[in-house]
């Protein structure tokens, strides 16, 4: 029987029976794959400890033709996530990333850059990046990789270089207030300080931003803008948003 062998992040797990989980895996080779982990809830299971959300694992999944749900054959823990879950509000960022990826990624389609992004954000949190910055970094990059939140390089229509710039979410383009005729709601405008923060996010690894000071007001405003774009992209707000609010960002939509 063909088996997928891949490194993966565990995104979510739901109880299927008293003894089994359904796990949502973000595999490096094949993107999102869902599989039954038989007996994983028993204390004697070889999967035990390897299927906590946001753990990095090496898995073998047996996939049957035409079936959405595979069967987990093996899971070896490469890097656990309990250290970060044991730090609030870092844990809220992990919960938010798990839900976002589960909803944003298509099944059975590898996304190497999104995979690396998740690893980089976890590494950044371990290096001491502020949780709110880590969350903004993750969501801005994920949206950019999905073509809806480009790097701002002036107005796409008239080329004006100043700020504010407004995001045309449907087109995935930035415009100046004169060219963007449909005015977005208050707070959806990218100001100069927000733009330089976003520039740093798009230019540097999160771990290296951990030691830099950013104006809290710009970070908070940028988080509000990115969350607005993320919720619109996903079609509805995140269930984890109330937990993410404790990071201190601006109010969501």
């Amino acid at each position: 029987m063909p088996a997928l062998s891949s490194e993966a992040f565990v995104l979510l797990r739901h109880p299927l029976t008293e003894s089994s989980w359904i796990v949502t895996l973000f595999t490096r080779e094949e993107g999102v794959v869902r599989a039954v982990a038989k007996g994983a809830r028993r204390t004697t299971s070889p999967f035990r400890g390897a299927l906590e959300p946001l753990s990095r694992v090496r898995v073998e999944v047996v996939l049957k033709e035409g079936r959405e749900l595979g069967t987990l054959r093996s899971a070896e823990l490469l890097e656990g996530s309990l250290d970060l879950h044991g730090r609030w509000p870092e844990a809220a960022v992990l919960m938010g990333m798990g839900e976002t990826l589960e909803r944003a990624l298509p099944a059975h389609a590898a996304e190497e850059e999104s995979y690396r992004l998740l690893g980089a954000v976890l590494a950044g949190l371990r290096a001491g990046a502020p949780p709110l910055l880590a969350w903004v970094y993750f969501s801005a990059w994920l949206l950019r990789l999905h073509g809806v939140f480009p790097r701002p390089e002036g107005c796409v229509t008239c080329g004006a270089q100043g700020y504010p710039l407004l995001l045309d979410l449907g087109a995935g383009e930035w415009r100046c207030p004169r060219c963007q005729r449909q005015r977005p709601a208050e707070g959806r405008a990218l100001t100069g300080p927000m733009a330089s923060l976003l520039e740093a996010v798009f230019r540097s690894p999160l771990a290296s931003l951990a030691r830099r000071e950013f104006p809290q007001e710009a970070l908070s405003a940028l988080s509000g803008m990115v969350y607005w774009a993320l919720a619109a992209y996903l079609g509805r707000p995140l269930a984890t948003w109330p937990a993410l609010e404790s990071l201190g960002g601006a109010a969501g939509p």
Partner: protein, 204 residues
């Protein structure tokens, strides 16, 4: 299970209800049902009355949120021999029974009735923090033991609670992560082993 359609409606309804219980599949539900029917009407009536009392006579203790008989004092909070300086926070009322079974702990409890999991709709407001704060406000508690499981949700809940409790109580402890008793090292996963090492305690 097409044959089920041939059953009388009352029987079918009972099967459906039984299958809503954890660990009860169609086969177990049938076994329970026929066992009750074989034992005669008295057996089902007795069970029904017991369940009715469970729904009507059992309530959450306003101080520890464990279950108690309505109108009566809580067997845990009302026990004067218990050590009021220790407070153990657990996920469920079933965990209280497990810890009581060890005979190791004689303090008080706070039952969360769930672990933080925004995806499942469990937020801090559901954990009874106001009850906890009230108890700590009394000034007797010296140590809070966070006894949530070593899972993602258990760790997140423990760290959330630790942040919430910081400065309100002299000591906040986390239950140790350890090796299952009687297990050979060869059969222990690396995560458990590394946690057991980092959570080591002084021996001599």
């Amino acid at each position: 299970m097409k044959a089920v359609n041939a059953y009388p409606p009352s029987l079918r309804r009972c099967l459906e209800e039984l299958q809503k219980l954890p660990g009860i599949g169609p086969k177990s539900a049938q076994r329970i049902l026929f066992h009750l029917l074989e034992r005669g009407a008295g057996a089902s009536v007795e069970l029904a009355e017991t369940l009715l009392a469970l729904g009507k006579r059992v309530e959450r203790c306003p101080d520890c949120r464990a279950f108690k008989e309505a109108g009566a004092a809580c067997a845990l909070c009302g026990d004067p021999s218990r050590d009021g300086r220790l407070l153990c926070i657990v996920e469920s009322a079933a965990d209280v029974l497990l810890i009581e079974g060890t005979g190791e702990f004689r303090g008080h409890y706070h039952v969360l009735h769930g672990l933080l999991s925004p995806m499942k709709g469990i937020h801090p407001e559901q954990l009874g923090l106001e009850v906890l704060d009230r108890r700590l406000g009394g000034g007797t508690v010296e140590e809070v033991i966070l006894a949530t499981p070593p899972t993602a949700e258990g760790e997140a809940t423990a760290s959330y609670l630790a942040n919430h409790l910081a400065g309100r109580v002299a000591q906040i402890s986390r239950i140790a992560y350890g090796l299952p008793v009687g297990t050979d090292f060869q059969y222990v996963d690396t995560l458990t082993l590394s946690r057991a090492l980092s959570g080591r305690r002084r021996f001599l």
